[in-house]
Amino acid sequence: MDRSYRRLLGVLIICFGATAVCAEEITIYSGRSKSLVKALVKQMEKETGLTVKVRYGKSAAMAMTLREEGDRSPADVFWSQDAGALSALSNAGLLTKLPDDIVDSTPATLHPEKRDWVATSGRARVLAYSTKRVQEKDLPKSVFDLTDPKWKGRVGWAPANASFQAFVTGMRALHGDAKTRQWLVAMKANGAKTYPKNTPIIRALANGEIDLGLPNHYYLLRFKKSDSKFPVAQTSFAKGDPGNMLNVAGAAVLASSKKKAAAQKVIRFLLSAKAQQYFTSDTFEYPVSGDVIANPALVDVEVLLEKAAPVPFRKLGDLIGTLKMLRDVGLL
């Protein structure tokens, strides 16, 4: 055997042998993206003393995975970027009731009926637009106006994204299935461009691929933070429009978890002042509990509440119905 080959073999064996050591572990399925929360997860490990393993994915997709896995799921905690995915799991009986002190640390309007999940931060749907190619006065007043021929091929959306899906569920609750389906079909016919997630929508707005987009409110703010000249802005539709849905990210303990106490520790941490401050300052979301120093880059929460679409979170549970509709019209 050549010496160089022996060396290569040695390198391969060392590479393979370098495995990690085991510790007390808790597994989170996170529908929140890694880039947003990985720093917080590190803090979580420090504060709770647990080794936290996170599987990242899309919220609705994770909910479907959890349904598929059932009792065999390795997950202890589900952390979703929207209420719809959590409600769907709650309806399927896969979540376990949380202690009152956890649920009651958030405002009563955010409590789910079965008290088996809890909101961890708030967010809003917005209309984002290119400041180069769209005048503020020309902006549509309602999400229904986006089917107008003048926006043909100029709108971007993310049908696979859970927040978008929650928005569709909300629209169904407000305006009925027939009108929602009609809108989706008309949007598609009007050349709406599909992106995998919210951030690419913002990027595409800046790059001139599209002129209007339907993301959550905090993605643009992150771009603006590092680049104040970023040529995109955002606003709301007229008061009460379904395009102004409010939503929450939330967390729950899985019924199949064998480490429920540790899982609750994780959720308590997410509601702690430290985590809430992180959501406010670092990911530009709205806090749901405790005393938090407000982020000046955010629109005042009172303004949001006034403009919001009147859909209670409890009505967002029919994720399956929304997924079916999106599939039927060929968006998924």
Binding site: M1, Y5, I13
Partner: protein
């Protein structure tokens, strides 16, 4: 062959039989379960989902892209091969290496670099003040996939061109053919097998690819499988089966086209030296072409990624992230590289030494995992692990490792086979006559002589695993991020700067291995 003698053969060749069984079960069982799952789902609803206009559209888009990429890769790959093999040009060696190196840049990385570069707020626009085309849709996918897959055609055709016996063309010339006529009628037909096997690799890559088409937002079957795998797995299973069927049709078609042709072009007689062809007024355009291809496929993406890495605070941002991922990637790749020869050597050995149908069957076996679109394979394995296998297997490193090894076993075949051809059969016969069993012969005689081939095979498997995305994405244990999955998750969120260090690490590792393999090949 009678049943009894077949059984005797299987027992006598037990290492090969065992490896073959592992392959058959490892690849076959998940697929069968996938089919079972697709069939067992709520019939009427699924039926209406699968048999609708949209599925035809997805299939149409897949075929369109496949044919498109085949045409463009041929238009790029064949001239590139001819210029570096037969034209009288300076720097043919360098251009050859430049034509191979794009293999170090997986399609999804190329796509993400192009996306970040183009557009009126892209890297180019902000740095130099001019807009570069931001690729998307069909043309975007075509562009990126061509740059990524043309080396398969280029490499196959080039080596076949070098093996051609120039005597044939000389004879054609002597019979009054023009130079072009001689090339077309005497040389081209012999290049056909090499071209076809390159083309097969290209089309398999295209129908299996989901990274490029997702980023370019062009809806193909793989794209739909990827999206649906997270929302409706029964529907995804159906689409995955459709994709697998498509790949099977292509394989059969390829075998048909190859039938009756010599698998190898005629060996070089060594009597005549291949003459290089002067280019004259075509010289400048040729150089331009030879430079343009690696410029788009290599220089542009690498510079873009380097800019991100050095200009932004991406290193600080992603520091620990990419280092940990590098460790995971190396661990997985090394594991697959060590396992592959264990399965591969007995199989290839039996197929090279054996005769008849059994040998041919063994020869094809390693390609099983390779031909199945990776998303379909991954999905099938997840299904099986979640519902049938014991819970420890689900989301385990071992499962991922097994899947990757089964998929990339095919990469080990080439080097192992050519090494085996160089081991004299008589040595093995002598050992057998002295009382060694199958295993002992393999262990004590063949393997030591095979060593070079084994290491090359390992390097190929390693290289493929470093770039692998879909299987890892679906099967990786929780918290086990590789460079590829980091690139993907950051790119999907358009966080190009955060993806950059991970992408650079992949290109670095893959490039090193490719350079080492190329240097070895040039010897």
């Amino acid at each position: 062959m009678s049943a009894r003698s077949m059984t005797a053969l299987l027992i006598r060749r037990w290492p090969a039989t065992l490896a073959g069984l592992v392959l058959l079960v490892g690849v076959g069982a998940p697929l069968l379960y996938l089919a079972y799952r697709a069939a067992g789902a709520d019939g009427a609803e699924l039926w209406s989902l699968v048999f609708r206009w949209r599925t035809a559209m997805l299939l149409g888009n897949t075929l369109l892209l496949m044919v498109g990429v085949l045409v463009t890769t041929s238009l790029v790959g064949v001239p590139y091969a001819w210029l570096t093999a037969r034209a009288s040009l300076r720097g043919r060696k360098i251009f050859t290496v430049l034509g191979i190196l794009p293999l170090a840049i997986p399609g999804y990385i190329l796509a993400f670099a192009m996306l970040g570069l183009g557009g009126d707020y892209g890297l180019a626009a902000r740095t130099f003040g001019f807009d570069v085309w931001r690729p998307s849709g069909f043309t975007g996918s075509l562009f990126v996939l061509t740059l990524y897959t043309f080396p398969y055609i280029f490499l196959n055709v080039r080596s076949a061109m070098l093996r051609l016996d120039p005597a044939l063309e000389e004879v054609a010339r002597a019979h009054g053919q023009t130079r072009w006529g001689a090339f077309r009628r005497a040389a081209l037909p012999q290049l056909r097998p090499a071209y076809l096997s390159g083309a097969l690799l290209v089309v398999l890559h295209v129908i299996g690819d989901f990274g490029v088409v997702s980023l370019m937002r062009f809806e193909t079957l793989s794209f739909a499988v990827y999206t649906q795998s997270s929302f409706d797995r029964n529907y995804a299973a159906c689409l995955a089966l459709l994709l697998t069927a498509l790949s099977a049709v292509l394989l059969v078609l390829d075998l048909r086209l190859l039938r009756g042709r010599g698998h190898e072009a005629l060996a070089h007689s060594g009597i005549l030296k291949q003459r290089t062809v002067p280019l004259r007024r075509w010289k400048a355009p040729s150089y331009l072409f030879l430079l343009a291809v690696p410029f788009f496929g290599l220089v542009l993406p690498v510079t873009t990624i380097l800019t991100w890495v050095f200009e932004s605070d991406a290193i600080a941002l992603a520091d620990s992230e990419w280092k940990e991922a590098l460790g995971n990637t190396l661990q997985l790749a090394a594991g697959a590289a060590l396992l592959a020869p264990v399965l591969g050597v007995p199989l290839i050995h039996a197929s090279v030494r054996g005769r008849g149908r059994f040998a041919r069957l063994l020869e094809r076996a390693p390609y099983l995992g390779y031909a199945i679109p990776p998303l379909a394979f991954g999905l099938a394995i997840v299904f099986l692990a979640n519902h049938v296998l014991p819970p420890v297997v689900y989301q385990s490193f071992g499962l991922l490792l097994a899947a990757v090894t089964l998929r990339f076993l095919a990469e080990a075949v080439g080097p192992l086979r050519s090494a085996l051809y160089r081991v004299p059969e008589r040595l093995e016969e002598a050992a057998r006559a002295l009382g060694c069993g199958s295993w002992a012969v393999l262990r004590r005689v063949t393997t030591p002589l095979l060593w070079r081939g084994v290491v090359a095979a390992m390097a190929f498997v390693f290289l493929a695993t470093v770039k692998e995305l879909p299987l890892t994405l679906i099967l990786s244990p929780t918290g086990f991020d590789t460079l590829a999955t980091n690139v993907w998750s950051n790119t999907e969120e358009a966080l190009f700067a955060e993806a950059a260090p991970n992408a650079l690490a992949i290109i670095g590792v893959a490039g090193l291995f490719l350079a080492a393999l190329t240097a070895r090949g040039e010897r």
